[in-house]
């Protein structure tokens, strides 16, 4: 989408341009490769295979603590993201994101924030087994989720929120780098622990196969892949480690009610049995 003019023509001063970097482990490093590419007039970091590996390490390190946080706490953090996004809406409109899409993205954070302490009751519960046993199933995060993300702000929020609300951590490959990194700045100032969301900008075809085959990535969300050959290649790569794969849905309408599937596809079900008796 076309950016609104960022350079305000005045006689006295030139605008200070933003350098768009990666977002890994709560920090904003340049690509270790030193490479950049030009997107919509800005030089943005071109992530390498090593950057992807670093991001997976950061996501793995953050995962136990994030999953171990109370659902109430995770909900609060997601709501805080909505607050910060609301406060920074002008930055997104300046990047050309329509105002109603910013609204929808804010509202989506609020919607998912409320799911943190409800999904376990909706997707789990007591099982009436035929015997003297306490038997209960509860959803648990899959772990580290690699996401090949769509470009739009609402699309990004629609893949990040369902992954992290349940305790997964994520590594995203983002198209639309300026919007993605600006969203990362929102996350970085929203009490989201470093490493929970990691954002790489670059070429899907170059970095995505490494994430798909990475031994320490537990699930792969292909929502942002619009080329069927690349999707098939990534699915094949994911088969080696038996990753959970969320396939791209044809022409996803991000404004529609997402339902439970974006969350449940990234959850495992754990069932615990214990005898009952005196």
């Amino acid at each position: 989408m076309p950016k609104a003019s960022k350079v305000v023509e005045t006689a006295t001063r030139l605008t200070v341009r933003k350098t768009y970097k990666l977002y890994i482990g709560g920090k904003f490093p340049r690509s270790e490769s030193g490479r950049t590419f030009v997107a919509d007039g800005d030089n943005v970091a071109l992530a390498s295979r090593k950057d992807a590996r670093d991001a997976v390490l950061a996501a793995r390190a953050a995962q136990p603590k994030w999953a171990g946080a109370t659902a109430y706490n995770r909900g609060q953090v997601l709501y805080r993201i909505a607050e910060m996004l609301e406060a920074r809406r002008a930055e997104f409109t300046a990047l050309g994101v329509p105002a109603d899409e910013v609204d929808a993205a804010i509202d989506r954070w609020v919607w998912y924030a409320g799911w943190s302490d409800k999904i376990a009751q909706v997707a789990g519960g007591a099982n009436p087994v035929a015997g003297p046993f306490f038997n209960i199933s509860a959803p648990e995060p899959t772990g580290v989720v690699a996401v090949i993300a769509p470009a739009s702000l609402l699309g990004l929020v629609s893949v990040i929120a369902p992954a992290i609300v349940t305790g997964n951590t994520t590594v995203l490959l983002a198209a639309g780098p300026q919007v993605a990194i600006t969203l990362a700045e929102v996350l970085a100032t929203s009490d989201v622990p470093g490493g929970v969301v990691n954002l790489l900008t670059g070429r899907y075809a170059e970095t995505a196969p490494w994430l798909a085959s990475h031994d320490d990535v537990n699930a792969l969300d292909l929502t942002g892949v619009d080329h069927p050959d690349l999707a098939a290649e990534l699915e094949r790569a994911a088969a080696g480690t038996l990753k959970r794969v969320l396939r791209p849905r044809a022409a996803t309408d991000f404004t529609a009610d997402p339902g439970l599937r974006p969350m449940t596809a990234l959850l495992e079900t754990k069932t615990v049995w214990h005898p009952k008796g005196y």
């Binding site: 099982n127 199933s137 290649e233 699915e235 994911a238 088969a239 038996l242 615990v272 005898p275």
Partner: protein, 474 residues
């Protein structure tokens, strides 16, 4: 110690034909290319029957039959589909003695287990999913969930009829039609099930059974007119299937291998724990993907527990599967016996200490004495690889954190066990274990209402319970 008198179940309750065809579109017929294979009784090596090996043309016919049947079957009101499933459940109950004997003959498992575990669970699965057929709108997958179409189902030899029930019951309840391939060493109870379908007057083509080996299964899961693939078996084959299915849009669920940790803390009731350990690894000759094959014992009670375990193992009766007193039957095939022997040899070579109770094994058939390895470390192959036999690796730990770390140190994540009298410890440890089923102070319990399935390389999706419906609904 007194001796038991032989107490054999009569095999005359079940008739086995000398040869079987394929069950396609409601009737049995021979394969197009005329290839057959033999299925043997692993306890005696006696040939039980000749079975048709389905070729590509046969699989095409079966998929086509399932496709034709899909329209009318899925259009049937849920309540009517339910009635067919209830009928099947009832017929299985009525014929359970025949089926139990047949299962023990073809698989080698003790009649005590086929009669008291497999068959009751098989009937229960059909009853459970029958009840879902007219309630799918309330299952939590949206107001109008739809069936996927034709399901290709490939099942293993360790629980031939139970795995069939786990796959067929939810598929039919949700309005899908199926082509099922049983394992080549245990096809007989699936073929018997075809007769149950006929007896229930299930419409032709809704269930199709194609027998054969890996090639038949590979062709079936790759078939372009299949909408859903469900597989239970080894992680290696599961990986290959995941590759085959990638990019096709077919839905896939996998129930793969495991290397479950059975964790015994120092405050566990020793006698109960020993029973649980024995049940965990020697049930069904250890041919169980969720078997408790890695025993983690807290160091302070290791000697006491092992002495007790060895005492208990000495009372296990290995032999004739049809004898009602038999605890451990035959290993399912020569190939599986060879794998168990190979990995056990490796265990000894790598320095673990091997022990089996005194027991005489029959001269013919495939047999392996219950075995434990002590002094096992996490690097040993017997602690890492699935042996799929009556072989237990014993490791020790000192702290709960160490127990959790060792338990999770595996690419698998199907099941785990916890033995302790302390409730808070059960809950804390269960929370940290990366496994789909956690048994606390019990082991190897199954129920149609309870979801079953793994984390990590133990596969994806769940079978059983409300969760089991998801695999068959769009």
């Amino acid at each position: 110690m007194f001796e038991y008198a032989p107490a054999p179940e009569s095999r005359s309750v079940v008739e086995i034909a000398s040869s079987y065809g394929l069950f396609i579109d409601g009737s049995f017929d021979g394969g197009k290319d005329g290839n057959v294979f033999k299925t043997v009784n692993p306890a005696t090596e006696e040939v039980l029957a000749e079975v048709t090996s389905a070729g590509s043309e046969d699989v095409d016919r079966a998929v086509a039959a399932a496709r034709r049947a899909f329209g009318p079957w899925s259009a049937l009101p849920g309540g009517e589909r339910a009635k067919y499933l209830f009928r099947i459940a009832r017929i299985i109950q009525e014929r359970s003695r025949e089926l139990a004997v047949l299962e023990s003959l073809d698989n080698g498992k003790p009649i005590k287990e086929s009669r008291d575990v497999d068959l009751p669970l098989v009937a229960a699965h059909f009853f459970y999913y029958a009840g879902w057929a007219d309630k799918l709108a309330y299952a939590g997958f949206g107001p109008d969930p739809q069936p996927l179409g034709v399901a290709a189902q490939v099942i293993p030899w360790n629980f031939p009829l139970l795995m069939l029930a786990w796959k067929v019951a939810p598929a039919l309840a949700t309005g899908n039609t199926v082509v099922l391939k049983p394992a080549e060493t245990t096809p007989l109870s699936a073929l018997f099930f075809a007769d149950v379908c006929r007896q229930a007057e299930l419409p032709a083509g809704v269930v199709n059974i194609v027998t054969g080996a890996g090639d038949t299964g590979a062709y079936l899961v790759a078939h372009p007119d299949v909408d859903k693939v469900a597989f239970t078996g080894s992680t290696e084959v599961g990986r290959a299937i995941a590759r085959t299915v990638s990019g096709t849009g077919k839905r896939l669920t996998l129930e793969l291998g495991g290397k479950a940790a059975n964790i015994v803390f120092d405050d566990a009731p020793i006698d109960q724990a020993v029973e649980g350990i024995v049940n965990g690894i020697f049930f069904n000759q250890g041919h169980v993907c969720c078997a408790g094959s890695r025993l983690l014992v807290q160091e302070s009670i290791a000697d006491e527990l092992l002495a007790s375990l060895k005492r208990r193992m000495a009372t296990l009766r290995v032999g004739d599967p049809l004898d009602k007193n038999t605890d451990i039957g035959a290993i399912n095939s020569a190939a599986q016996l060879a794998r168990i022997k190979e990995l056990s040899e490796i265990g000894s070579e790598e320095g673990a200490e091997r022990w089996s109770p005194e027991c005489s094994l029959p001269d013919r058939g495939f047999w392996f004495a219950p075995t434990i390895f002590t002094g096992v470390t996490q690097a040993h192959r017997i602690a890492r690889e699935e042996i799929f036999g009556p072989v237990l690796s014993v490791l020790t730990f000192r702290t709960p954190d160490e127990a959790v770390a060792k338990a999770n140190n595996t690419p698998y994540g199907l099941s785990a066990g916890i033995w302790t009298e302390k409730g808070s410890r059960i809950l804390a440890v269960a929370d940290q274990l990366r496994a789909g089923v956690v048994w606390a102070n019990t082991f190897n319990k199954f129920d149609p209402a309870s979801p079953f399935g793994g984390y990590k390389e133990s596969g994806y999706g769940r079978e059983g319970g409300r969760h089991g419906l998801e695999a068959y609904l769009a």
